[in-house]
Each structure stands twice: as structure tokens, then as C-alpha cells.
């Protein structure tokens, strides 16, 4: 009996692999139709990461070590444009232990390279929600074809309202066009590419964890894990949406081009 069982066991060991389907997930952008007009984001709203064929990084026009990339990306994501890196969210200052970093641009102004965060205030958001609710009603109620564009906008404003309610106050949001852009050379190695992607992802995740820990006593990753297991938990979803709205993940890849000049 034991011999047979052993045979089966060994057969199984040989024919199978231990599962290892983990990695960095990415949503590729849909293909751009030829002749499409691609809107250009404002220079200060884009965090440029370029990697050359020697696997060297050029971040915002300056050479940088991979180890420093995470903190630089973080400061981009929470920058207010006036040199103050941390900003209060309902009484709690996000990342109070972080030092204020000043970056002088070529023209001499401070932190000009950072996107300016804009205030999202409760009264304004509530007014917008009411406005769009009325618009949906006027267009034939929820579900009708005409109301669709309004419903999308309504959803967005409701998410902002959730964020304000859960985080306990007005917050500053990244402008819509703010993004982290990565560009690599054809001769960059895949390892470097993944390391850069990973560091950028770490920057977003750590900021999210920080805020989630301060507000909900749990890291963002833990929240997401818990939501994966019970997807009917609306309270949990709201928390996740709130953190996501505060720190949106905007890591994009530039259209590939044959460039070796940098």
C-alpha cells in the first residue's frame, strides 16, 4: 500500500510545478488610432522617468539612483507645489515624519516641477452631487441613455464625497493630468524595467498604506485583501475608494519610440 502511495506521490512531484503566478499587474493603454490627437499634459504635471541603454535613470531631467526613485516619486505624488510635502487630511498630517524637500527648478522657483494640488471642499462637492442628481433626473432618470454621461460624473463626485467623509475633511487632489511617465530604451534590460516599475508602484502603495493605517488602522493592502475575500462589503469598498481617490495610481508608459539620445 505504502509503495503504491509513494509511486503516486513521486509521479505527482515530477509532473507538476509549484504555482508561482505572482507579479506586477499592469493595465496596458488601448491602442492609439493613427492620426489621433494626443493631448499633452502640462510639463509640471508629469513625472518623467527615462531609462537609457546602460540602465541609467534620468528622473525629471536629472540622473538618479534606483534607490532614490521611490522617495522622489512619493514627493511628486503628495507635492502641493508650495514646498510643503505633507498635507493635512482631516487633522492628521500625512507623513509628518517626512522631511520637507525643496526642489529648485532651472528658472529658480521652488518646486515648480511639482503638480499643484487643488482643494476638494465638502460644500462644493455636495453642490456638484446635487447638481448632477438633478441633471440625471431631468434626462429621464437613472438608467436611461441620455442620463449616462451625467451618471458617470455623478459617480465621480460621489466618490469624492465618500473620500471627504471617510478621511474626515477636505483634501487636496492631484490634477487630472498628473501622471508618472516611464520611457525606456530598446536596449534597457528587462530587469531594470521591472525594478523601475516596482519602485514606482511601491511609492503609490506606501502612500496608500500610510493613509489607510492612519485612518482605518489597516494597511491598504490588507483592506484590498479583505475585500477580495468578501466582495459584498460596501463599507470596505468605500474605504478603498477613498484611499484610491486621494492617491490615484497613474503610472503610464510612453509610446515607444526609437530614441537613444538621452
Amino acid at each position: 500500500m505504502a509503495d503504491i502511495a509513494f509511486l503516486l506521490l513521486i509521479f505527482w512531484l515530477v509532473t507538476t510545478t509549484i504555482d508561482s503566478d505572482v507579479g506586477i499587474k499592469r493595465q496596458l493603454p488601448p491602442p492609439v488610432p493613427p492620426n489621433a490627437d494626443v493631448p499633452q499634459a502640462r510639463e509640471q504635471n508629469v513625472f518623467n522617468v527615462k531609462v537609457n541603454f546602460l540602465n541609467q535613470l534620468l528622473v525629471e531631467g536629472e540622473p538618479l539612483d534606483l534607490e532614490q526613485l521611490k522617495n522622489k516619486a512619493k514627493s511628486f505624488l503628495i507635492a502641493t507645489g508650495d514646498g510643503i510635502m505633507s498635507h493635512p487630511v482631516g487633522g492628521i498630517t500625512v507623513g509628518p515624519e517626512r522631511e520637507v524637500v525643496q526642489v529648485r527648478s532651472a528658472s529658480g522657483s521652488m518646486n515648480a516641477a511639482f503638480p499643484e494640488r487643488v482643494w476638494v471642499r465638502e460644500a462644493e462637492v455636495k453642490a456638484k452631487v446635487r447638481e448632477y442628481e438633478a441633471a440625471v433626473q431631468a434626462a429621464g432618470g437613472a438608467g436611461s441613455d441620455k442620463a449616462k454621461p451625467y451618471e458617470g460624473a455623478l459617480e465621480l463626485w460621489k466618490e469624492k464625497l465618500t473620500t471627504i467623509e471617510l478621511l474626515g475633511g477636505d483634501y487636496k487632489e492631484l490634477p487630472g493630468s498628473a501622471l508618472i511617465s516611464m520611457q525606456n530604451d530598446n536596449n534597457t534590460t528587462y530587469d531594470t524595467y521591472i525594478q523601475v516599475q516596482n519602485e514606482l508602484q511601491t511609492a503609490v502603495n506606501e502612500l496608500r498604506d500610510e493613509v489607510a493605517l492612519a485612518k482605518f488602522g489597516e494597511t491598504f493592502t490588507a483592506l484590498e485583501d479583505r475585500y477580495d475575500r468578501n466582495p459584498d462589503d460596501d463599507e470596505l469598498l468605500k474605504k478603498i475608494v477613498a484611499v484610491r481617490t486621494l492617491y490615484p495610481q497613474r503610472i503610464s508608459e510612453a509610446e515607444p519610440r526609437q530614441a537613444t539620445g538621452y
Binding site: G23, T189, Y193, T202
Partner: protein
């Protein structure tokens, strides 16, 4: 008259092997649950890069694999090539392949297909970028860069 006999030396009794099959069966079941059947052989050498921000795809049947690396058999060259299912392919074949693989999924899940890119870490980005572009044209936008795990930078 004592009940306890002293001095009667008995050897160590042999361990019963009656439960051995049970133990081995438990091991077998553990491995059956913890592993997956290898569906196709990897024909390229892949040493995965390490990353810390990992995502695990729970629904395995939704994943399709694209392998990129140097062929194991040096007769096929020493430059990185791409392997789809069991055969070496060119990036130009990706769109057809994606279309075919989509049909193997139930209709409701066709849009949820994942493409897992298993790429050797020494590969140059040229071929990877080409593959990514083809995936975009094929509207297979959910991509997982397969990696091994490590700690976050700066964490002990």
C-alpha cells in the same frame, strides 16, 4: 508479589508501519492541492526578476503565458525568442494567438483574460516592447509581469 516486574529486559518494539500509507497519502493530497499540472514545457531559459509589489491572480484558468528568453537548446540560437504555448513564435503572431485563446474561455470571462509575461531578466526591452504593442492591438490589456518576490527597497 509485586505487580511491576523489574529487570525483565524487553527490546524496543518495532514501530508499526500500518499508518505509513495514510501519511504518504496525506503528502500526496497536499501536493495535489498545492501544485498545478505543467501544461507546456518551457523551451526558453527564464530567470525572473525580483519585485516587491506582487499581485496574485486567483483564477488560474484565465491566464495565458508568453515566455521570452534565450532558447534552452542552443541550436535555436542565442538571441531571446518568444514562446507561445509550445512553439517559438514571432510577435506578429500574437494577435491571432490571443483571438484563438480567447475562444477557449467561456464567453462571460473572455474579457477577463490575463496575459502573464514570463521574461528573462537579462532580455533587452526591444522584444518586450514589441510584444506589448501587439498585445495592445489585440486588446489584451491585462498584463502581469511575472516576478519572484523580495522585500521592499529600504526594508529589513
Amino acid at each position: 508479589m509485586s505487580k511491576f516486574k523489574k529487570g525483565a529486559k524487553r527490546g524496543m518494539p518495532a514501530i508499526s508501519t500500518a499508518s505509513l500509507p495514510d501519511i504518504v497519502f496525506i503528502l500526496l493530497f497536499f501536493f495535489m492541492v498545492a501544485t498545478v499540472i505543467r501544461s507546456d514545457d518551457e523551451k526558453v531559459k527564464i530567470e525572473r526578476p525580483e519585485a516587491s509589489e506582487l499581485y496574485r491572480i486567483e483564477k488560474k484558468h484565465l491566464i495565458r503565458y508568453v515566455n521570452i528568453g534565450v532558447p534552452m537548446d542552443s541550436r535555436y540560437g542565442t538571441e531571446p525568442v518568444m514562446q507561445l504555448n509550445d512553439a517559438f513564435s514571432t510577435p506578429a503572431q500574437i494577435q491571432d494567438w490571443i483571438a484563438k485563446e480567447r475562444l477557449t474561455l467561456p464567453e462571460a470571462e473572455q474579457s477577463k483574460m490575463w496575459v502573464s509575461l514570463k521574461v528573462d531578466k537579462a532580455t533587452k526591452m526591444g522584444i518586450v516592447t514589441e510584444v506589448k504593442q501587439e498585445l495592445r492591438y489585440a486588446s489584451a490589456l491585462k498584463v502581469l509581469y511575472s516576478t519572484a518576490g523580495r522585500k521592499r527597497t529600504g526594508e529589513e
